[in-house]
Symmetry: C2
Subunit: 445 residues, 2 copies
């Protein structure tokens, strides 16, 4: 079945060229899609790893074989985005090329190679009455993804959901609708070809705000929602959803340079954390320097930041070093302390103590990643005890908070909430558990 | 500080005799309480186990020493409830006696004896670049509890939160307000006496719907909400909250008797699951019997249920055995399949296969506990693969789904959602994790 033939049955999955309008009854269309996903999930949860891996390889192969179909759909999205005067950086993120599509397919093969989290025994013991208790990983069921422009998320999320035994309901942005519909059509056909229910991967019908709302309130049909994108998207999902949500991504990450720090390590870590890739959530946004090392650290740091094109938004005590270091400098306001710049900007302050740094972080942090550079074990211990974040980097760059870097093999997102999963989420984090209690007729007295 | 002296500062904690009205600005009062809890949580997260245990023993001792003060406050609540014509069973749940208060204090001592979950290393490994990754348990921060009449929950929840390093925001029912205020006053004084911040345990001000709403929307101040009570309470919290929620409790539990079952074991398990304690969530509400064993099982089962005072709401195939067994019988409707009776009522149906039983459970279950009675390993395997629930009992009573029975030593509730925790929740489930990554200057390339 091709994207075109899927279009012949509009109640099933939308066609790549369906344009930007919702189906007539968008609520029923969304719920019907979710119900079919739920039925598929009942099959998926019991599939052996070999079947899931075969399906993943079928998807990867199909993405290669039908690349031209996907690229043609993507050209429609790209043209529409250009016609609408979209920022070239966003158009670039939206654009698929043969090379990018090939990388997407390779990522699916990588997921196939990862261990299956389903069936893992998390805890197991025998009770005094002879009951054998085992807590075992099981799929969530139906995982909903709400995300912005990059079409690669469509395939990544579907592959991770499939490997972990979950059905995926995908709601990408309207601007990538044709691309996503084409990718989903290819993946569904690949599933059907290996006798896995095609409804295990589905695009949520519609491109309106309404279609998102119906997905967010499909309690009992959708087990968990994972939003990925900007702060606005995530807040709207967290506040509007009655389905449990895993909040991802906003990172206002700090690098604290203790007075016990090795200045060379501190400089290398700061530059890497700020400049290695500026548009991502694990990039550093604020530098805090202990007053006891400011004189030894800040002149060189400000000069190096200038050489890397970084504008420093500093407090008065940083300002004192700015001119002589030739820094690109603007005075900081409270807005700077809370901002996720995602650009070559860095807020900076001098603090009188480690405790003041911890206090600053507690007040302004988004709870993503906080780094300390220090040689003193006591300082490290106090920082770790005081800071509340998904990840704490001790003498390492904030950029390491990443599923790939952590060795998970893949990542569905980075949780900045405390419930269920915190930090990079791989396959394990896409599972729940069931207690299986085995007896021989035991009753409670 | 006694409950009476606390009343002198109405912005702090309400007095036992504050009655049933909200403070003038209930929103600000709730948020101020949450902010103080947040500050206390910053201290609590770093407390060593010894300090937390000392605080728990101080609470237990104070509950003994100031029993009369608590009982006097409770008498006010009980009198108000009686005057309002409240159901005697509910009045009984609300009532504290010296014995019950003593048992509550003993439960706090039991919590002190449990291991501290904070600091446990969940995962730990070294990356190829030398970074040491450790995933370590940390407290959530501020845990909000919204619950109904039983005042023992006030102390249980506070003790479990404290042991796991969390501040507790307690919002009991208006009918137990005086009791809860007295219990909280005693606990706060005990904390202060051992130099632990009193704000680690706080009653949410107000008894109106508004005060709950402000708690449910205190994002950034409250880390997790756990509702405990009836289905109505839980649904309203799940739907109205923007703070992450752990859904607890509703149990429409099934006992499936396979045609491979030992009828004697099946009967013992059924009677225990239905009648050992009818008002709790892990009680069985529906019996499903394989057609191949109906003739051998149902006549004796129906007679035994009758002897235990159980009314059977059965389908036509159960009806066929009802009269000769002398059952108390009414024909079942769809309402019966979805109902959590919490009474001596049982829905019952005959199914043609294990798969039909699984299908019935998938349709009607609340995802709490499902039991299979079977000698066939193949049947057990298919049931476990097909049923999606917090707990699956194989040849054991549904009544075992309980933190105490599972050996957790204590229980904050039973999660029926899939996110974060599923099934009985003990101290471990009141924690989140942080990744602590330790290096020696590593940067990402």
């Amino acid at each position: 079945m091709t994207a075109a033939s899927l279009a012949a049955d509009p109640t099933r999955q939308p066609a790549a060229d369906a344009g930007r309008t919702d189906p007539p009854d968008v609520r029923e269309a969304v719920l019907a899609t979710a119900r079919r996903a739920r039925e598929a999930a009942a099959v998926l949860r019991a599939l052996p790893r070999a079947t899931k891996d075969r399906a993943l390889h079928a998807i990867a192969d199909a993405l290669g074989e039908r690349a031209e179909e996907v690229l043609a759909a993507n050209r429609q999205d790209v043209q529409r985005a250009r016609d609408a005067g979209t920022d070239p950086a966003i158009v670039d993120r939206l654009t698929l090329t043969p090379e990018r599509l090939s990388a997407i397919a390779d990522a699916v093969r990588t997921v196939a190679d990862l261990p299956d989290p389903v069936g893992e025994v998390v805890r197991g013991y025998t009770l005094p009455n002879g009951l054998e208790v085992r807590q075992v990983r099981v799929p969530f069921g139906v995982v909903g993804m709400i995300y912005e422009a990059r079409p690669n998320v469509t395939v990544d999320a579907a592959a991770l959901a499939l490997k972990s035994g979950n059905a995926a309901l995908l709601r990408g942005s309207a601007s990538a609708y044709a691309s996503n519909a084409a990718l989903v059509a290819v993946m569904r056909d690949a599933l059907a070809a290996v006798d896995v229910p095609a409804d295990a991967i589905a695009l949520v019908p519609g491109t309106s705000r309404d279609s998102v709302t119906h997905l967010m309130t499909a309690r009992g049909l959708v087990d968990v929602l994972i939003p990925r994108g900007g702060a606005g998207l995530i807040t709207s999902v967290v506040e509007g959803s009655t389905v449990p949500v895993i909040e991802t991504g906003v990172g206002n990450c700090h690098v604290y340079v203790d007075d016990s720090a090795d200045p060379a390590k501190a400089l290398a870590i700061l530059l890497n954390a700020k400049t290695q890739r500026v548009s991502v959530c694990n990039t550093a946004e604020t530098l805090l320097v202990h007053a006891g090392i400011a004189e030894r650290f800040l002149p060189a740091a400000l000069a190096a930041l200038r050489d890397s094109g970084v504008t420093v938004h500093g407090d008065d005590r940083v300002a004192a070093y700015a001119e002589s270091a030739g820094a690109t400098f603007v005075p900081a306001t409270d807005t700077d302390w809370e901002q996720e710049y995602l650009s070559l900007d860095l807020a900076a302050a001098v603090v009188d103590s480690l405790e003041d740094a911890v206090g600053h972080i507690r007040r302004w942090s988004s709870g993503h990643t906080e780094a300390i550079v220090a040689e003193s074990t006591g300082a490290v211990r106090r920082f770790v005890a005081g800071v509340d974040a998904a990840a704490i980097m001790v003498n390492a760059s904030t950029r390491f908070t990443d599923g790939g870097e952590f060795g998970f093999g893949a990542e569905i997102g980075i949780s900045t909430q405390k419930l269920h999963a915190r930090g990079p989420m791989g396959l394990t984090e896409l599972t729940s558990t069931t207690y299986i209690v085995t007896g021989d007729g035991q009753v409670r007295t």
